[in-house]
Subunit: 329 residues, 2 copies
Amino acid sequence: MAISREVHLLARPDGLPSSDQFHIVETEVGDPGDGEVLVKNSWMSVDPAMRPRLSNGQQSQHQVISGGALGTVIASRHESFKEGDIVQHGAGWRELHLSDGGDLEALDPAGFPETLYMHVLGTTGFTAWGGILITGRLQDGENVFVSAAAGAVGSVAAQIAKLKGCYVIGSAGSAAKCAWLQDTLGLDVAINYREGVLRKSLKAAAPNGIDVYFDNVGGEHLDAALPRMNVFGRIPICGMISAYNNFGAISSGVTTLSNMVYQRITMQGFVVWDFNDRKAEFLDDMRAWLRAGQMHYEETVYDGIESAADALIGLFTGQNTGKMLVKLS
Amino acid sequence: MAISREVHLLARPDGLPSSDQFHIVETEVGDPGDGEVLVKNSWMSVDPAMRPRLSNGQQSQHQVISGGALGTVIASRHESFKEGDIVQHGAGWRELHLSDGGDLEALDPAGFPETLYMHVLGTTGFTAWGGILITGRLQDGENVFVSAAAGAVGSVAAQIAKLKGCYVIGSAGSAAKCAWLQDTLGLDVAINYREGVLRKSLKAAAPNGIDVYFDNVGGEHLDAALPRMNVFGRIPICGMISAYNNFGAISSGVTTLSNMVYQRITMQGFVVWDFNDRKAEFLDDMRAWLRAGQMHYEETVYDGIESAADALIGLFTGQNTGKMLVKLS
């Protein structure tokens, strides 16, 4: 019998979440029974996509927050897992996880730090890879715009586009993030969307229009991008972070959709599991880019399970560069 | 030498066009020279897509309005055309058209009234067929919503969906149009969008959601449809008539686009020439449906070239059921 702490949802946020809507609960976790595995989590993933679930009912109240985690098997009575195995799961924000094994994926880090499997080598990297190459049908040398380009998914999408010889514009919400986009990631233009008028900045930044807009934001960003799209342009919709904190997931109105017709644009929402059959190909690409030093990433790490709610809120107030993680002791 | 009248654009409309922005001009048309053909137009097509061109510069001021027409060759010195041939062209709103033949398409009516080649057997029918079957990837038995369903394109799209065994909801702007949609076209539900709250009417009409939304309208219609879309739903965007009379083709804001991600929706703008390689297949389908009495249509006919501007304005004030045409004497 061991003591674990979990993060529960106390009240559903109606706008920007606040820390009093979350709650740390202590629970007793038993020893693994036959066919069970006990995992001690070392990292928890903090993702924008968690936000809508808090309001739309997919996340139950007074239950542990669903989300990605990575940990080590500390006891096992399951034939497929042994002590010391590193595993990933989506069973949420808790220190200990007692599992029947069905929700665990064993991880071979293949020489890379294990946190990379929480972002560039994990779901966020795979989301970016599939979104820009499969949904976005990116061609070498095209003109690309990525919103929230300093975020975990956006930064990978933007770098893949650069690796494919594209002209890449990225938007971010601070001068420091823009400097990172241009100086470290090598983007052609970085737009600080908090300065000036986004629509005008984007027009100036895209003299040859936009072939692929990788949208993480929606709202004003999408409104500004649509009139810049070239014929047969593609808009993979990865997320609409601008809408996540509004009641009913309503974004600021997009008024320029008639460009969809004039330029025969395709806009398509996707989620990472749409690409599951391409996982090995993704890992091959990404490991090669990492080994060649061609894929940069940053991690913003909050310490301890008690900081998890602040980490999630921080996503929506621009506190992260790159992947937001919570480290458990 | 003959006298022809043409409709010219006098001033660019900024909202709903008004008749004083158009102007009838008399011109002298010479006899055909070597390689030339003289066409006497009998029908002119009036289409929503003409509207944005009047404001966005694609239509030149003080020039004849571009648009579809159908006529008869009355004199020819071109080897491919002879007197009496029926031809279609896009050379616009004029009584006589002197052509080098390059813009003429000879028409074999195959036993159907020639005006049908201005709508169900012409561009509007082909637009509907390609938009719902190719862009919309319609599957038999799906749940379908068509906006402006009493219009020339919408009514064909809705009937094709019925022919494919689908549950079909249509919207229109009057009780009479809604009665036609239900009683003649056999739609499952017709919504009068001028009554009640469209978002609520559509929710009530779509108990099993929407798999394909054929959008002719944009704005409030699209805003209402997005939350109703099923997973992997498709939204072929044929037009956004709600935006055409607003400056800069700006529609009322669409605030529900985050559903694109949740349901992995594909939204795609298209134009009819995207389907050019499928024209024969379209004609085979449509002629068979017409012969079987399975394809209904209406024509709203304005008489004489002097009524052409009013016919165009009438499109945006709901004066037509089915295809809007101008008959020339």
